[in-house]
């Protein structure tokens, strides 16, 4: 037999109360009425009380009832082998949810968590099984249900904190999936976590089946400081001969509960230290630095921002790649000589691009040929007639080699539209349409798209402010992707990917003739990001978060295009080397790479001419926020308020153990205690209680 709350056994001390009362308290005998004690009062009487236990049967009953009450509240449960052997099904199936997010790497947290789980595993009794699920932003089943304690212990020994953020919804959903196969009498989830508040910030609300018991083992809290590099942004840039100057804006924050003094921040460029700074950070305070850098322009440069080690190590480093300052050549194709061209707004918007800047080359549509197109990264047909057959073929070849093409198909295009299933342009062009209400609006697609991602925020929302007065109808095919449309459903921006090259068609003008887009704040960012997207040029200050996915062949495409390598001649595979030295070979069809380690991942391919392309990866800084939830707040957050009382009964600051309310022993003990009390009451009424008075007359 074991006890869930053994401290209730202190109640045994209450037994002394009835013993004392039986010894001390004397029930006054019922006096016989007598007219007057006037004479008796004059007769001296000496009495003394007999110090012996009175009514021993009542005393025993009362003491026994008190002992049983205390025992019942202590929560006894049976552990005898006999009981377990007699049970044909498992009594308890328990899922240990072990928080593996990188905040658990805070000094002492992981060891405490592992010890707690190890202890819980050690307390498993016959008839109880356990499974282990480790989670950060995703949950992984480490060990399925088993009663083999050694196996479970081995499984947790191999676990280490990872580099992702906490997601309780994923963890609890995984636990429910695991428990779905359980037929145990009781199902329980034991969450071992630092209960970070950010773990609730996912899209899904964490929930757990009401039938499943949830027990929390809080780890922490973090008592020290934790300085973290929260973000690094490119503040400004400028190019020179063979090199570029950049200024990085670095934001450091102390997410711990104590001040950090003498924090040292160092910047490293290609393993060479660029400079260092020392400052103090109060708890919760933030410090912003601007760090000038000088980097080469002919290749991507590895930049590392490093804080002096404290608290969590992962957020002390920030990795970044700065792209070489190679300008993107944009060929702006206007009408033939003599025709009016309204490309003023387009030119002005493209001129705003920095890091890298755009080289804008003007040409006439009649001049398009293979040779002219060779020096261009992106071609923009700004509402001009379509080139002739030779020109169309040259454009098709340009796109096939990885070139980018933006076609403004409003009033200008005439001639055969090289679209449909065979052409390199999307859809089939239709008639000019005037919106039914006179004025149409832009609506961007909600899909995930690199171009839309780059425009996320205010820029995309500003699209809705742009008015559209006319547009040309375009019938998209299944191969085409509509990135934006008008409020009447007609396509506004359509993409077709031709192997390596990208083509976008816009069905209204970029100038104010058919649309007011040029007057919105979205116009310049939209055009710049569109050109970068078409040119496969990532932003200069580039890095990925752990968990992001990246098509690595897109990263290589600009290099291949610069070498004029035909799409069919490009290598069909590449190798990625992780910061820990592991290599992964990716095929062209499966080039999506999702890094799981912070640091520089090196991409190797023939097109890179024996040089590797670095990809900077960082851990999500949201996890650096160490603000924790209390057990009550956690229960409320996962919509389990009925568990609050239980949680309140536990000591939430320590590794708690929850009462096993389903074990039936305690209420049997309680019932016996109540029965004893009833017997005592009946007996007490029947017994005649008298004090023995011994008198001695003087």
């Amino acid at each position: 037999m074991g006890l869930l709350t053994p401290w209730f056994l202190v109640g045994f001390m209450a037994v002394s109360v009835p013993i004392l009362l039986h010894l001390v308290q004397r029930k006054e005998p019922a006096g016989q009425p007598f007219p007057s004690l006037m004479f008796l009062r004059r007769i001296p009487v000496k009495t003394r009380r007999k110090k012996t236990l009175r009514d021993p049967i009542l005393l025993i009953l009362r003491c026994l009832a008190l002992v049983l009450l205390a025992l019942a509240f202590a929560g006894p449960y049976l552990l005898s082998n006999k009981t377990v052997v007699a049970t044909t099904t498992n009594k308890v199936d328990r899922v240990f949810l072990l928080d593996q997010s990188y905040s658990m790497a805070y000094p002492g947290h992981w060891t405490t968590a592992i010890d707690a789980v190890r202890e819980q595993i050690g307390e498993l009794t016959s008839g109880e099984r356990a499974a282990i699920v480790a989670f950060d932003n995703r949950a992984r089943l480490i060990e399925g249900f088993t009663a083999d304690r050694a196996r479970l212990q081995t499984a947790i020994e191999q676990l280490r904190p990872r580099y992702s953020e906490t997601n309780y919804a994923a963890a609890l959903a995984s636990a429910e999936r695991v428990l779905r196969d359980s037929s145990a009498q009781r199902q329980e989830v034991v969450l071992v976590s630092d209960l970070q508040r950010v773990g609730l910030s996912g899209l899904r609300t964490p929930r757990l089946n009401a039938e499943t018991d949830l027990r929390l083992i809080p780890i922490g809290p973090a008592a020290g400081s934790n300085a973290a590099v929260m973000s690094v942004e490119l503040a400004q840039g400028g190019s020179g001969v063979g090199e570029a100057r950049h200024v990085l804006k670095v934001r450091a924050r102390n997410t711990g509960s104590k001040a950090a003094h003498g924090v040292r921040l160092a910047s490293t460029v290609e393993d060479r230290e660029n400079g260092s700074y020392i400052f103090d950070l109060e708890a919760g305070a933030e410090h912003t630095l601007q760090i000038p850098l000088l980097i080469a322009t002919d290749r991507a440069t590895r930049v590392q921002i490093q804080l002096s080690p404290d608290g969590i190590a992962v957020d002390d480093v920030f990795y970044l790649t700065l792209a070489g300052e190679q300008p993107t050549t944009v060929m702006l194709v206007g009408p033939d000589a003599g025709d009016t061209h309204a490309g003023f707004y387009l030119t002005q918007a493209l001129a705003l691009a920095q890091a890298p800047e755009f080289d804008i080359v003007d040409t006439a549509v009649s001049d398009l040929d293979q040779e002219v197109l060779a020096g261009a990264d992106v071609v923009i047909l700004d509402d001009v007639r379509l080139p002739d057959d030779a020109g169309r073929q040259s454009l098709s070849d340009f796109v096939a080699r990885g070139g980018g093409l933006l076609v403004v198909a409003a009033d200008g295009p005439r001639g055969q539209w090289p679209g449909g299933d065979q052409g390199f342009l999307p859809g089939q062009l239709g008639q000019v349409v005037k919106p039914g209400s006179g004025v149409g609006r832009w609506v961007t697609a909600g899909d995930v798209h690199p171009l839309l991602d780059a425009l996320r925020g205010a820029s995309v929302e500003a699209f809705a402010d742009a008015e559209v007065y006319r547009y040309r109808n375009l019938i998209a095919t299944n191969d085409d992707r509509v990135l934006a449309h008008f409020d009447d459903g007609a396509p506004a921006l359509v993409e077709r990917t031709n192997r390596s090259g990208r083509v976008l068609v816009m069905t209204t003008t970029l100038d104010p003739r058919w649309s007011s887009l040029a007057f919105t704040s979205s116009f310049a960012p939209f055009l710049i990001e569109t050109v970068r997207y078409l040119a496969y040029r990532p932003r200069s200050d580039s890095h990925l978060w752990i968990g992001d996915s990246l098509d690595l062949f897109e990263q290589v495409a600009p290099f291949a295009r610069s070498q004029s390598v035909a799409d069919s001649d490009q290598p069909q595979s590449m190798v990625v080397e992780s910061p820990e030295g592991q290599t992964i070979r990716l095929s062209r069809n499966k080039a999506l790479y999702s890094p799981q380690l912070p640091g520089f991942h090196e991409l190797h391919q023939a097109a890179l001419e024996n040089e590797s392309l670095p990809i900077a990866v960082n851990a999500n800084r949201a996890e650096s926020n160490l603000a924790a939830l209390s057990a009550e707040q956690f229960y409320e957050a996962i919509m389990r308020p009925q568990k609050l009382d239980r949680a309140a009964m536990q000591d939430s600051t320590s590794i708690g153990v929850q009462a096993n309310a389903d074990n039936g022993v305690w209420w049997i003990v309680l019932a016996i205690a109540v029965l004893l009390l009833l017997t005592e009451a009946l007996l007490a009424n029947r017994l005649t209680v008298r004090a023995t008075v011994l008198s001695q007359t003087e």
Partner: protein, 322 residues
């Protein structure tokens, strides 16, 4: 079971008449008037002479006729001799006032018998009723006063108050504690004519205070009869205590008026107790005699005729004095 008939004969009476009716038998007579008549008639029937009843025929003196006098009472012989109107006066015309002062304090509600047995208060009520009946026959004015810590009820003496007194005695209830000194002082203040005051009580007050209270009435000109009523157990602890409670060793007694408790070991305390009670009675007896107060102590097992006899003796003495 003993039976009582309305003619005044009761089975179980001793000496062939109703003179010595056991008080326990009297408790079975629900009507207090009937009870009193039985007692008094039986008592009178047993007397050997009628001295006490002839007082109304005895000549006292002549006095001059005055308007309003009954002309039948004019002594014509004297008129013939003196030619003046004189009327005869008799002893019987000089009626006495009888006031019964009844102690109804809580201690009077005691009986050492069962619930149906006679309590001291019952016994006192019987005595008071019998006295009222007897006084009625004697054409005395009868009054009643009940008291505990003060006067509770008071019926002033009157020749027409016999029935009222009997009704009051039937409905009497137990009061609280007792303060005989204060009660009798107030009684004395409220009596304007001299008469006979019969004080019936258990006198659980120090003897000096009792005597002082009785003496207060006497100095006002009243003839005082103090009737001390006790339960047999109050005289002898041993004889009744063990039998009633079934206890042989210790007992705790509770004062009926103060609720005070104290242990009692009869074997050890009885002797001293009896001595103290007897001293109390003796003190009352001697002190009363010294002050002209007629004192008698009865226990509730004694017949009532002794008390009646004492009353008549006092009345006779009062009549002769006049």
């Amino acid at each position: 079971m003993e039976a009582v008939n309305t003619n005044g004969d009761a089975a179980g009476t001793r000496n062939g008449g109703a003179r010595f009716i056991d008080p326990q038998v009297l408790t079975r007579i629900g009507n207090l008037d009937l009870l009193a008549r039985i007692v008094v008639d039986g008592f009178i029937a047993g007397l050997h002479r009628t001295l006490f009843l002839g007082v109304s025929t005895e000549f006292a003196e002549h006095r001059a006729y005055s308007p309003g006098d009954d002309v039948r009472r004019i002594d014509w012989r004297v008129y013939a001799r003196t030619d003046r109107f004189y009327v005869k006066t008799y002893e019987a015309e000089t009626n006495a006032d009888l006031v019964v002062a009844l102690d109804i304090s809580r201690s009077m509600d005691f009986t050492s018998g069962g619930p149906d047995d006679i309590t001291k208060l019952d016994y006192a009520r019987f005595v008071a009723a019998s006295l009222a009946h007897l006084a009625g026959r004697q054409r005395d004015r009868i009054g009643l006063t009940t008291f505990d810590v003060g006067l509770v009820q008071m019926i002033p003496p009157s020749g027409r108050h016999r029935d009222r007194v009997l009704r009051t005695l039937e409905t009497i209830s137990v009061g609280n504690g007792s303060d005989i000194g204060k009660a009798l002082e107030r009684l004395g203040d409220s009596l304007y004519r001299r008469g006979i005051v019969v004080v019936i009580s258990d006198f659980y007050t120090p003897a000096e205070e009792v005597i002082s209270a009785l003496d207060g009435l006497r100095v006002r000109g009243h003839d005082v009869i103090a009737i001390h009523i006790l339960d047999p157990m109050e005289l002898d602890l041993k004889r009744h205590l063990g039998v009633r409670s079934g206890l042989t060793n210790a007992e705790a007694l509770q004062d009926m008026e103060t609720a005070e408790r104290m242990p009692l070991v009869p074997g050890q305390q009885r002797t001293q107790y009896r001595r103290l009670v007897q001293e109390h009675i003796d003190t009352l007896h001697h002190a009363s005699g010294g002050r002209g107060v007629d004192y008698a102590c009865f226990d509730t097992s004694q017949p009532l005729d002794h008390i009646l006899f004492r009353y008549l003796s006092e009345r006779a003495r009062l009549s002769h004095v006049r």
